[in-house]
Symmetry: C2
Subunit: 140 residues, 2 copies
Amino acid sequence: MKCTEHILHNCLYFTANALARKITKMADEAFRPAGLSPSHAFIVMLVHDTPGIGPKKLGQALNLAPSTVTRFVDTLIHRGLATKKMTGKTTAITLTPDGEALLGTIEAAWKTLHTRYSDILGERNGEELTARLDKASQLL
Amino acid sequence: MKCTEHILHNCLYFTANALARKITKMADEAFRPAGLSPSHAFIVMLVHDTPGIGPKKLGQALNLAPSTVTRFVDTLIHRGLATKKMTGKTTAITLTPDGEALLGTIEAAWKTLHTRYSDILGERNGEELTARLDKASQLL
DNA sequence: ATTTTTTATTTGTGTGTACAAACATCAAAA
DNA sequence: TTTTGATGTTTGTACACACAAATAAAAAAT
């Protein structure tokens, strides 16, 4: 392994993104049965938890820019899974019955994903890693 | 914190991507003086290390799809930092003098980035995290 | 009550990345 | 030697984001 490659593997930017790409691929597969990308699915879950929530709050919960949430929600609406009611400057997002109906599938997908990477990394190890990532993410 | 949010923070997909987005922002800033995105910059370093390298090898070293490398290299060429010579089915990428001239700036940017996140996470902690990410990434 | 500032959301646009298909070449087998 | 299959690369296309600017409404200050 050459010099630069050594640098790469000691670089948080590089390793974090490499891992993110791999786990994203895995997550995409796990959530495919739900017909949604993981981020879309998490939005569904959050809206279920807090009906009437707006893009800003969703963005904070998901670590996504509000504009990104807007687009995601728009596609959920387009697929008949959510609705939004704009009153004044705020937007209240809620699930349609079709959206609510997806919750079981989504939860199952999430469990599938968790199992799949836990089997590879080890349950304990995976959880530790996740916790450290979460902490680091908050700090940065 | 509601139920779903709890799930999120225990999800490797979510935490890994959240961290990746934050560190990417930081890296983009650090590499801005070089006028390149971090990935472009790393390609420059790798090509310097191994002149004549092709997209496939680069992709393997960087954990990127070959097609992605093609685009990145093309923009490097467009900016006069690299050239490629296609003989048969293989492509040999090399740096131009302008590309070589950037190496110092790139290395400095990388150090800036490293310092910046080490200051926040702690040097030891950051290195441990990076090592674990690297390991997990290889496993998945 | 009017102006100013702040806040919530959306839209325009750009970047990074992937996959699948197309293409071209080399290697192996027939 | 022709065919078959594997390999390296590029192109078409699509998705997940982000930022900056536009919009619009609420809150605060005057």
